[in-house]
Structure formats: structure tokens, C-alpha cells
Symmetry: C2
């Protein structure tokens, strides 16, 4: 309300507070478009893709890329951090839309998609560059609790067994999705679904047939 | 009977046929001890372990090792081939001892142990050396039908679902056991058990609780 009053001053200039907000909103939109573009370009052309290609896809200038992310490692780190956030946030979104088991099963596939993105970034992430060091901790801080909450809800509803550890599952899905024995995303999707069905074997809901065929 | 008669000739010499058989039996025993020793030594000291270490463990001379396996690649290939045979043969042995599902579940863990051995040999197996080229085909020829038979029996008994492909499962277990996300053999064992429980989700036997806890 205060700023509304100041915008009515009639001097032809936006008051500083509103301008700052607009600039910040524009910058956030630019950064978001940039990170989305970088994610897609890294996935198709690898993490050494030309900055020009990323800038063009995002609809921003090359200078904007360098202003926000002086080093390539900054950009790669920011893309990965955004993917961690999106994956973790998906847990509560799915929990709001679905029954506990369905939320869990859907999230496990969402996590598999996250791992596929991580696979593309792996050459950089495993390079030992200091920019990437905090990301492991960030992943654990955000993704692990997300799965724990989903597991807990599904277990409380009697839909999954209670003797499976979230870390075990995260590691297993990562193994299924990143291995060279992986026969592509369809194979990974089927095997993650099989693992998730294993979670509900022996529960009250286990006499129901899996809703989706594995073929 | 013929050879028994010849052994009664009283000239102080074993007849040639019996000697050949004895030599062949001795050689087979030597080779078997050698391959078992090589397997263990490769697993602990890597595939570049000293031939002397392998010979000592097998209780044979170094010359015996070189006589049977002139090149290190011959020895590595023979170790791997023997492991493939043992893993494939385990399927019918387990099928003879257990109910179909138990045979399948036990074999999947046996296959996981095979993969752990394969992991140790991987640096050699993936070196592109021509000795190892036929082993992929040999693996598929022996191990794939072994699992198919077990799956078919368990499906016929109504104990596992019918929409899972043997190759998918072999790949998934290999992924779970060989990945860097693998937290050791216990983690792999638990996750293979979970995958196997997924196989029986939705079948008539699925209301029974898994006999083994995953913890």
C-alpha cells in the first residue's frame, strides 16, 4: 500500500522500490529461462556446449549468461541445484494430488527422471571442482526427506512395507537409471516400477494387481 | 572291465588307458584348483595379481599355470567361463531343491554373487582383448535360459507375474550390484530381494509376508 501511494506521485518515474522489484522479477525470469535452456542444451550437446547455444535458446544475450554465471561451473551447479529443488518439491505436490502409494510410485519415477538429468551432468559433477562440493549435501538435505515423508505416509496407510530405508531406495533407483546395463529409459521405468511393487508386497493392498503393466 | 583285466598283466606298469585317465583327472583337478585360486586372488588383489600368488594358493607350480594358461587373458577368460557355468548350473540345482518361487529368489541372489565376481574381472573383460569377445555370447547362451526356466516355473505355479522379461531382470540385478551407488553387498542383496518381491506383487501368493526381512 505504501508503494502504491508513492506510485501516485505523478512525477513520471516509477518509485525505486517498484523498479527494484520489477528488475528482480525480470532477472529471476531470465535466470529461470537460462537454467531451463542450459539443462536442455547440456542434455543434448553435453556440459561443454557453447554458451551461445544456451543464450539463444533462453532468448537472452551471451553477456547475460556471463553476468549471472561467470564460470561454466557456476551454470552447471545452478542447473543441478534447480533440478534437486524441482525433484524435492514434486514430493509435496504429488502428495497433495494422489493417495499415499500413488504419490510415492509417481515420485519414484520423477526421481528416476532427475537421475537421468544428473547422468548428463555427471562428467562435470564428478570433476572434483569445488563449486560442486556442496551439492551432495544439498541433495541429501532436500531429496532424502522428500522420500522419507512419502514412504512414511504410504506405510501409515498400510500400503507399503515398513522395513525399507529411503537411502537404500534412492541408491537403488540411481543404480537402475545410471548403469551401463540400463537398456534406456523404458527399461529403467519398468524396473523402478517393479522395485516399487516390491515395496507393497505382503501388505493389505498386495492382492490388487499392479495398475500398470510392466511391458 | 577291459582295463581291469589289462591292469592284472603283472608287468609293473599301468596300462596306457588307465594312465591317460588318471593324468586327465589330475589335470582337471589341477585346473579346477587353479581357477578357484585365481578367482579368489583376482577378487582380493585384482586381475594383475602375481601368477606366483595364484600358483601357491592352488598348490601347483608356476609352470603348471603357464602350461595350462599361456597368457593372463586365458586364465581370466577361463575363470569367468567357470563362473558363468556355476551360475547357470545353480538354476537346475536350486529348482531340484526348492519350490519354484524360492528357487527363483535364491538364484537371483546367486546371480548377484556372480555379478560381484564379474565386477572384479571387469577391467580385463572390458579391455577389448579378443580372448574375451566370445564370453558375452557364452553368458547369454547359458545364463539367460537358466533364468527363463526359473521364471516360467514360478509363473506356472502362479507365484510370480508373467509380464517381466528375463533380460530386463538380468540387467536390473547387474545395475544394482555393479553401480557406484551400490552401498556394498548387503545393500545389493536387499534391493535384489525387493525387486524379486515386486515379481510376486499381485499374485495369489502375495498376501503372504516376505519370509525374510529386508533389514
Amino acid at each position: 500500500m505504501v508503494s502504491d501511494k508513492r506510485e501516485d506521485q505523478g512525477d513520471g518515474y516509477r518509485p525505486q522500490g517498484a523498479t527494484d522489484r520489477r528488475v528482480r522479477a525480470d532477472a529471476k525470469r531470465n535466470i529461470d529461462a537460462l537454467l531451463e535452456a542450459a539443462k536442455v542444451v547440456f542434455a543434448t550437446s553435453g556440459v561443454d556446449a557453447a554458451v551461445r547455444e544456451i543464450a539463444e535458446k533462453a532468448g537472452v544475450g551471451v553477456g547475460t549468461v556471463y553476468r549471472h554465471f561467470p564460470q561454466r561451473s557456476d551454470l552447471i551447479g545452478a542447473v543441478f541445484r534447480r533440478e534437486i529443488d524441482a525433484c524435492a518439491d514434486a514430493a509435496s505436490i504429488l502428495a497433495g494430488k494422489h493417495e499415499p502409494f500413488e504419490a510415492l510410485a509417481n515420485w519414484m519415477q520423477r526421481y528416476a527422471a532427475f537421475i537421468a538429468t544428473k547422468r548428463g551432468l555427471a562428467p562435470a559433477l564428478h570433476s572434483g571442482h569445488p563449486t560442486f562440493e556442496p551439492l551432495r549435501a544439498y541433495f541429501e538435505q532436500r531429496v532424502r526427506p522428500a522420500l522419507r515423508t512419502l514412504l512414511k505416509s504410504a506405510a501409515a496407510a498400510g500400503e507399503v512395507r515398513t522395513d525399507v530405508d529411503a537411502d537404500d531406495l534412492l541408491g537403488a533407483v540411481a543404480s537402475l537409471c545410471m548403469s551401463s546395463h540400463n537398456d534406456g529409459p523404458d527399461h529403467a521405468r519398468r524396473m523402478v516400477a517393479l522395485l516399487v511393487d516390491g515395496l507393497r508386497y505382503g501388505t493389505k493392498s498386495s492382492s490388487a494387481r499392479s495398475s500398470r503393466s510392466l511391458r
